[in-house]
C-alpha cells in the first residue's frame, strides 16, 4: 500500500519537471517573436561545395542545434532556411530577395563567393535585412563601400597574403626569387597582389621570376609545372583550390616541384582526408585559427564543443575547417549581438538595435576571440595561422609543424586603412610579436 503514493509522487515530479536541456532556458525577451528565421546561404552544389559549402552547412546544423538546445537567442529558437548559393550573381540576388519577401527571414547568414559578397550588400541595404557575410574573402566589401545592415564575421583575404609573407620570411629568410601560380580570376589575382606586394615591402630585394595564371579548374597543370621547374624559383606561392589544388599537389610531387622550391599556399581549405596526402614541406595557411589543435580545444571550450558536436552528429569533424569554423563564427556573432541588444533595450530588439550592438562587437568562437575591428565595426579581424606539413614517421601521417599564429593586429590594417595602402605604408602600427 505504501508503494502507490510514493510512485505517484515520483510520477508527478517527473511530469512537472521540464526536460534537462530546457531546465535553464534563456529568459524570453519582451515582444519576442515565436521564432527567429535565419536564411543560411552556402554552396550546396558545384565544385566549391565539398570543401567550402557542405562543411559550412554541417556546421550550421550542429551549431543551430546547440543554440536551440540552450534555449535559443533571447528565448527564441532559430529556424534555419537553407538556400543553395550556386549559380550566377543575378540568381543569388533573386534568392536573397526571395528569402526576405517570401520566406520572411529576420536575417541572412551567407556567401562564400566573393562575387556574391559584392553583389548582395546593395540589396540587403535596400531591403534593410541584417546580412552576415560568413566566408568570402574579397577586401572590396568594406574597403570600397560602407553598409549599415551588412557585417562580415570572418577576416578578409588580406591576412592570407600578409601572413604568408611573414611566415615565409621566418621560415626562409634568405629567399631571393619567387614565382606565382594562381587561377586567372579575381581571387587568384588579388591573392598574388597582396602576397607579392607584402613580401617585397618586407624584403625589397626579392625578385619575381614567373607569374602563371591557369584557368579556373584547368586540372592539368603539366605545362605550368614544367615552366616552374625550369624557372627554379626559391619559393612558389599559389592560391589554387578545388581540382587545381589536387593537381598541383600530385603532379608537382611526382615531378619534384616540392623538393626544388618551397611551396606556400594561402587559405588552405583542406578536407582532413586531403591533408593526409599532402607533400612533405608544403607550407599551408589558414584565414583564422581553425585547426583541430589550434587555438586549443583544451583551453577553448567552444572549440571542444564544436568538434564534439560535429563528431556526434556526423561521425567526423564538420569538414574543412575554413567553411565550418567561419559559419560558427557568424552564428556566434549574431547570437552575441542579439543578446547585447536585448540587454541594452530590455526587449526584443529591432534590426537597427541589433546593427548598433553588432558594430565593434567582440565575441567568443571556436576560433578564439573575434573582434569586429575594422570597416567601421562591420568587418572582423582574425589571427592568421601558418604551418608546414610534415610526415610524422611514428604515426605515419601528416602533422602541421612549425606552427605560427600571427595576431590579428599584426596582419590586419587598422580601421579605416585599405589593405594595399597599409602594405605600401610599411604596415604602420602593426602589432607583431
Amino acid at each position: 500500500m505504501m508503494k502507490t503514493p510514493l510512485l505517484s509522487v515520483i510520477a508527478l515530479i517527473a511530469v512537472l519537471s521540464p526536460p534537462a536541456a530546457a531546465q535553464t532556458p534563456a529568459p524570453r525577451a519582451a515582444g519576442a517573436p515565436k521564432e527567429l528565421r535565419v536564411g543560411i546561404v552556402t554552396l550546396l552544389s558545384g565544385p566549391a561545395s565539398s570543401t567550402f559549402g557542405i562543411p559550412a552547412k554541417k556546421a550550421a546544423d550542429a551549431w543551430v542545434e546547440k543554440i536551440n538546445d540552450e534555449g535559443g537567442i533571447g528565448g527564441v529558437k532559430i529556424v534555419p532556411v537553407l538556400t543553395d548559393e550556386a549559380g550566377p550573381g543575378d540568381k543569388v540576388v533573386a534568392e536573397f530577395r526571395r528569402l526576405a519577401a517570401d520566406e520572411k527571414v529576420d536575417l541572412v547568414i551567407g556567401y562564400i563567393s566573393s562575387a556574391n559578397c559584392v553583389a548582395v550588400p546593395a540589396v540587403a541595404e535596400e531591403l534593410k535585412v541584417l546580412t552576415v557575410l560568413f566566408d568570402c574573402g574579397t577586401t572590396r566589401v568594406f574597403e570600397e563601400a560602407k553598409y549599415k545592415y551588412v557585417f562580415r564575421t570572418a577576416a578578409h583575404t588580406g591576412i592570407d597574403g600578409i601572413g604568408a609573407a611573414r611566415y615565409l620570411l621566418a621560415a626562409k629568410p634568405d629567399v631571393k626569387t619567387i614565382a606565382g601560380l594562381n587561377q586567372d580570376y579575381a581571387w587568384g589575382r588579388d591573392s598574388w597582389e597582396i602576397f607579392s606586394r607584402a613580401l617585397r615591402k618586407l624584403k625589397p630585394d626579392v625578385q619575381v621570376v614567373e607569374t602563371l595564371w591557369p584557368k579556373l579548374f584547368q586540372g592539368d597543370l603539366s605545362a605550368e609545372i614544367s615552366k616552374l621547374l625550369t624557372a627554379k624559383p626559391d619559393v612558389i606561392f599559389h592560391s589554387l583550390w578545388g581540382t587545381d589544388l589536387a593537381s598541383v599537389n600530385s603532379q608537382g610531387r611526382v615531378r619534384g616541384l616540392f623538393r626544388q622550391s618551397l611551396v606556400i599556399h594561402n587559405n588552405s581549405a583542406f578536407l582532413f582526408k586531403e591533408f593526409r596526402d599532402l607533400p612533405d614541406g608544403f607550407v599551408v595557411g589558414f584565414r583564422g585559427t581553425h585547426w583541430p589543435d589550434v587555438p586549443d580545444p583544451a583551453r577553448n571550450p567552444l572549440q571542444k564543443e564544436f568538434i564534439e558536436r560535429c563528431t556526434k552528429k556526423f561521425g567526423e569533424p564538420c569538414g574543412s575547417p575554413h567553411g565550418s569554423y567561419h559559419m560558427v563564427q557568424a552564428l556566434q556573432g549574431v547570437k552575441t549581438a542579439y543578446e547585447k541588444a536585448i540587454k541594452a533595450t530590455g526587449r526584443w530588439p529591432s534590426v537597427d538595435d541589433v546593427v548598433k550592438a553588432f558594430e565593434y562587437l567582440e565575441f567568443d568562437s571556436p576560433s578564439g576571440r573575434i573582434a569586429m575591428g575594422v570597416g567601421g565595426g562591420h568587418q572582423a579581424i582574425e589571427d592568421s595561422l601558418y604551418g608546414t606539413v610534415k610526415l610524422d614517421p611514428q604515426r605515419n601521417q601528416n602533422v602541421l609543424s612549425s606552427v605560427r599564429v600571427f595576431p590579428a593586429k599584426c596582419v590586419n590594417p587598422p580601421d579605416g586603412v585599405k589593405t594595399l595602402d597599409w602594405i605600401d605604408q610599411g604596415f604602420r602600427g602593426a602589432q607583431c610579436p
Binding site: 558545384g46 565539398s50 557542405i54 586567372d184 584557368k215 586540372g219 614544367s226 610531387r253 619534384g256
Partner: protein, 277 residues
C-alpha cells in the same frame, strides 16, 4: 574524348553536349574503383580497374542514352537535338551527385605509380606518357575497325547514305546504337584515365567538353584524324603560351580555332557536304 565526340557526330549526326558527362561518369567510376579496390601491392590492377570502369560506363550509359533519347530526334532540327543533349547533360550532372555525392574523389595512385622520367634536365611524370600511348593505340584500333572490318565498312556505308544502307539490308538503328556506345566508351576511357591526375569533382564534364569542341572544330567535325591533329595543336598551343606568354594561355587555344574556322570553316579535315534537297 574528342575522338569519341567526333566519331559520334560522324555517324549519328548529333552534336552530343552530354559527351562530357560520359567522360565525368568514367572519371567517377574509375576513381571509385581504384579507391575501393586498387592496391599498392599490385599497381597493374589499378590500370585494369580504370579500363573496366570505362568499358562498363560506355556499354551501359551509351545504349541507354541512344535508345531512350537520341533515337527520337534523328533527322530533327539541330536546335531540338542540342536542347535534348543539354537536358541529358543536366540530368547526368545530378545523377553523379546522387550516386557519388559532392565530395571530391582523389585517386592519384595510378599517377604516382608511374614515377617520373628526366628529359632535358626537367622531371616529367611518367603517367602522361602512358596516356599518350593509350591515345595512340586507341586511335590505331579505331582506324583498323573502320577500315579493316565488316562492321567498319557497314559503318562507312551508313555514314555515307543512311537510306541506301537501309535498303541494302543494313540494320541502321543497331549501327547507330553500336557507334554511339563506342563513342561513349571513348569518352569514359578519357575520363577514367585522366582521373588520377586531379581530383574528380562535380562539373568536370562541362569543363572538358568546351576544350573538346575546340579540338573537333579545329580538326573538322566527324574526322578522327582531325581530332588527333586538333588535340595536338591545342596541347602545343597551350604549352607554348605558358612558356612564352603566360597571360595568353587560354586565348591561344581559341586563337587557333578562330584562325582555322576563318580560312576553313569545316575544320582542317572536315569535308564540305552538299546539301540534300
Amino acid at each position: 574524348m574528342s575522338a569519341g565526340l567526333t566519331f559520334t557526330y560522324g555517324v549519328v549526326r548529333i552534336l552530343n553536349l552530354a559527351h562530357g558527362n560520359l567522360y565525368a561518369l568514367g572519371a567517377y567510376m574509375g576513381a571509385w574503383l581504384v579507391l575501393g579496390w586498387g592496391s599498392s601491392a599490385m599497381p597493374v590492377l589499378s590500370y585494369l580497374l580504370l579500363f573496366a570502369a570505362a568499358v562498363f560506363i560506355g556499354v551501359t550509359a551509351g545504349p541507354l542514352i541512344e535508345r531512350l533519347f537520341l533515337r527520337r530526334v534523328y533527322g530533327k532540327e539541330e536546335e531540338i537535338q542540342i536542347l535534348l543533349t543539354f537536358s541529358i547533360l543536366l540530368i547526368l550532372e545530378d545523377v553523379i551527385k546522387l550516386v557519388w555525392g559532392v565530395s571530391p574523389l582523389f585517386a592519384d595512385k595510378p599517377y604516382i605509380y608511374m614515377g617520373h622520367v628526366r628529359l632535358g634536365g626537367v622531371d616529367y611524370a611518367g603517367y602522361p606518357f602512358l596516356l599518350t600511348g593509350i591515345a595512340v593505340v586507341t586511335g590505331i584500333l579505331l582506324w583498323l575497325v573502320v577500315t579493316r572490318t565488316r562492321f567498319g565498312k557497314v559503318l562507312v556505308s551508313v555514314i555515307t547514305d543512311r537510306e541506301v544502307s537501309s535498303a541494302l539490308g543494313v540494320n541502321v538503328p543497331r549501327i547507330y546504337t553500336l557507334a554511339f556506345t563506342l563513342g561513349a566508351v571513348f569518352a569514359a576511357l578519357g575520363g577514367a584515365f585522366t582521373a588520377p591526375m586531379f581530383s574528380v569533382v562535380p562539373g568536370i564534364g562541362a569543363e572538358v567538353i568546351v576544350v573538346s569542341f575546340a579540338v573537333v572544330a579545329i580538326g573538322g567535325l566527324g574526322s578522327i584524324g582531325g581530332a588527333a591533329l586538333g588535340a595536338l595543336l591545342v596541347g602545343l598551343a597551350r604549352a607554348t603560351a605558358v612558356h612564352l606568354f603566360p597571360e595568353l594561355d587560354v586565348f591561344a587555344i581559341y586563337l587557333i580555332m578562330a584562325l582555322v574556322l576563318l580560312f576553313r570553316p569545316q575544320g582542317l579535315f572536315g569535308q564540305v557536304q552538299a546539301r540534300r534537297i
